[in-house]
């Protein structure tokens, strides 16, 4: 199977503090890869490196076939990114946001217009067209943000806690969107604090203190740890280890 992300012996240090301690994993094309870990376990650091925003201290990192040391600009063109904290501009309308992000990736205005209409129909945004993004319900905003992160047809999409605070129904609709894209061959890299969402991933990794503590399919992990659900594994791995010593 084609490899979308390849990480070998990745180390990232900030001064004496080791944020990522010898990470190794591969993500295949079309896979939904869940990235779990306590706050401060090193998830954000790793995602930043994979997105080409930060350079690793040592190790090999390849994203969409490009090297994170020298080709971070190429990486940026081939990935989409959305996070819970920031996704769209609150004081712009839906169309203005789409036009802005389309413009960043140098898409033609004809194409942007076509995509705008497509998103509005697909996400049933007709009634919100004239509104500012800050007036949208969070769930709708996040669904739109996901589509916008996808506008330049990247091969990998990074989602950083995309569903935090979203209601249970919309949360599931959001996952439908994720599946639909994965089905088209897109690789999805997602972090979440909802443990039921961990089960929706093809494979998950749990980070503890900068290291990968567990990696595998949800079913295999549950079997290995003799656990009923991912939440139990997470608590087992993360508890007892002081998660605050950075």
């Amino acid at each position: 199977m084609e490899t979308a992300v390849r990480v070998v012996n990745l180390v990232k240090k900030f001064g004496n503090f080791v944020a990522n301690d010898n990470l190794n994993f591969e993500v295949s094309k079309g896979e939904v890869f869940g990235f779990l870990g306590a706050n401060g376990a090193g998830k954000t650091t790793a995602i930043k490196i994979l997105c080409g925003l930060s350079k690793p201290t040592s190790g090999t990192v390849q994203v969409a076939g490009f090297d994170a040391y020298h080709q971070s600009e190429k990486i940026k063109q081939n990935i989409g990114y959305m996070s819970q904290k920031f996704s769209l501009y609150d004081d712009l309308t839906i169309k203005e946001n789409i036009r802005f992000y389309g413009g960043i990736y140098g898409l033609s205005s004809k194409f942007i217009k076509q995509k705008t209409d497509e998103y509005i129909t697909q996400l049933q945004l007709e009634q919100y067209q004239k509104r500012f993004v800050k007036d949208l319900p969070l769930g709708i905003k996040q669904k739109l943000a996901f589509s916008v992160a996808n506008i330049h047809n990247p091969s990998i999409i990074f989602l950083d806690e995309p569903t935090s605070g979203v209601d249970p129904i919309t949360r599931r609709q959001f996952w439908d969107l994720i599946y639909a894209e994965a089905h088209k061959g897109k690789t999805i890299f997602v972090s979440t604090h909802y443990m039921d969402e961990a089960e929706y991933c093809d494979r998950i990794t749990i980070m503890v203190d900068g290291k990968i503590a567990a990696l595998g399919t949800p079913n295999n992990l549950k079997r290995d740890y003799k656990a009923n659900n991912i939440s139990e594994i997470f608590l087992l791995l993360a508890r007892g280890i002081k998660s605050e010593n950075h």
Partner: protein, 302 residues
């Protein structure tokens, strides 16, 4: 005093958006009461009214005997509040933050140390670190310490665990339980449905209206529709097929399983037959009891 908080037909609108629609609730003294609902449900507006930060359009609310509009001065001396956004001084250290909040309530850390001892011990190793440099879980603990330092009679926690990892969330709830032992009434809101089970009573809230108020156990046991967990090898195909099934009232993912609620007069037999017809192997169907999240979604659709 049996009720710590009495809310009567409270309404609040921002322009043409109704944030709260005629809400009435009584919250008992000494209980942990949870408002369970997603972002935009009206939880923050309700908390701001109850903490006297906002005036309702209609209706009244009394918190520990004080009217939230008229008696706000007395009320403010007796309530602890932790807003949804992390609201401490990021450029002050842990210790300085705590000292400051003790100071504005005219008390000292020493005076009420017993209240925050359990929490503070966990963050004490970092007492000289700036609050902005703490991790999510630590920030929440510090914020809680600051909200408790003046020994409030009632504590309002607006989404204290949003964006916090499972471990820190579990620890946070343990702390809340021990605070309950001290006789403090705790009102907490959360978007995590699994946290509902940790409250004495909960209100499910959606689009400014209360869907139901009860103990978590009763909410679940009052849900009379049969519900089944379904599992198959090909998740995508399972979802597509089950959605098409005529007997399906609703079907949605729930962790590793799909939850299936059949229309009236159908049961697992009909689902089994359907899968046999489609040549499924290794199909797993199990009748289960509903969780808060199942109930919430059914109520949302209504």
């Amino acid at each position: 005093m049996n009720n710590a908080i009495i809310i009567q037909s409270l309404s609040k609108s921002y322009g043409d958006v109704e944030a709260l629609k005629n809400i009435s609730i009584d919250i008992k003294t000494g209980e942990i009461f949870g408002f369970i609902g997603s972002d935009g449900a009206g939880k923050t507006t309700l908390f701001r009214i109850l903490t006297s930060l906002m005036i309702p359009d209609h209706g009244t609310a009394e918190v520990i005997g004080f009217d939230v509009v008229k008696d706000y001065k007395e009320l403010r001396k007796n309530l602890g509040y932790m807003p949804g956004q992390f609201s401490l001084y990021q450029d002050l250290t842990v210790k300085e933050n705590l000292n400051f909040f003790a100071g504005i309530f005219k008390t000292s850390i020493a005076e009420n140390y017993h209240l925050i001892e359990d929490i503070y011990k966990q963050i004490e190793p970092f007492k000289n670190r700036r609050a902005g440099k703490l991790s999510g879980g630590m920030k929440q603990k510090l914020a809680l310490s600051c909200a408790l330092i003046h020994k409030p009679k009632v504590l309002f926690l607006d989404e204290p665990t949003t964006g916090v990892d499972v471990v820190s969330r579990a620890e946070f709830w343990e702390i809340l339980k021990s605070l309950k032992q001290q006789g403090i009434t705790i009102v907490v809101s959360t978007p995590y449905m699994d946290e509902a089970a940790l409250c004495d009573r909960v209100a499910l809230i959606q689009k400014g209206a209360i869907l139901t108020i009860d103990t978590p156990e009763n909410i679940v046991s009052n849900f009379h529709e049969p519900i089944y967990a379904v599992k198959a090898e090909n998740r995508h195909k399972l979802f597509e097929d089950i959605s098409k099934f005529e007997a399906t009232k609703s079907a949605y993912w729930f962790g590793e399983n799909m939850h299936w609620i059949p229309k009236e007069n159908f049961d697992e037999k009909s689902l089994e037959n359907y899968f046999n017809m489609l040549n499924y192997n290794n199909i797993y169907i199990q009748k289960i009891s509903a969780s808060i999240e199942d109930v919430f979604m059914e109520l949302m659709i209504k």
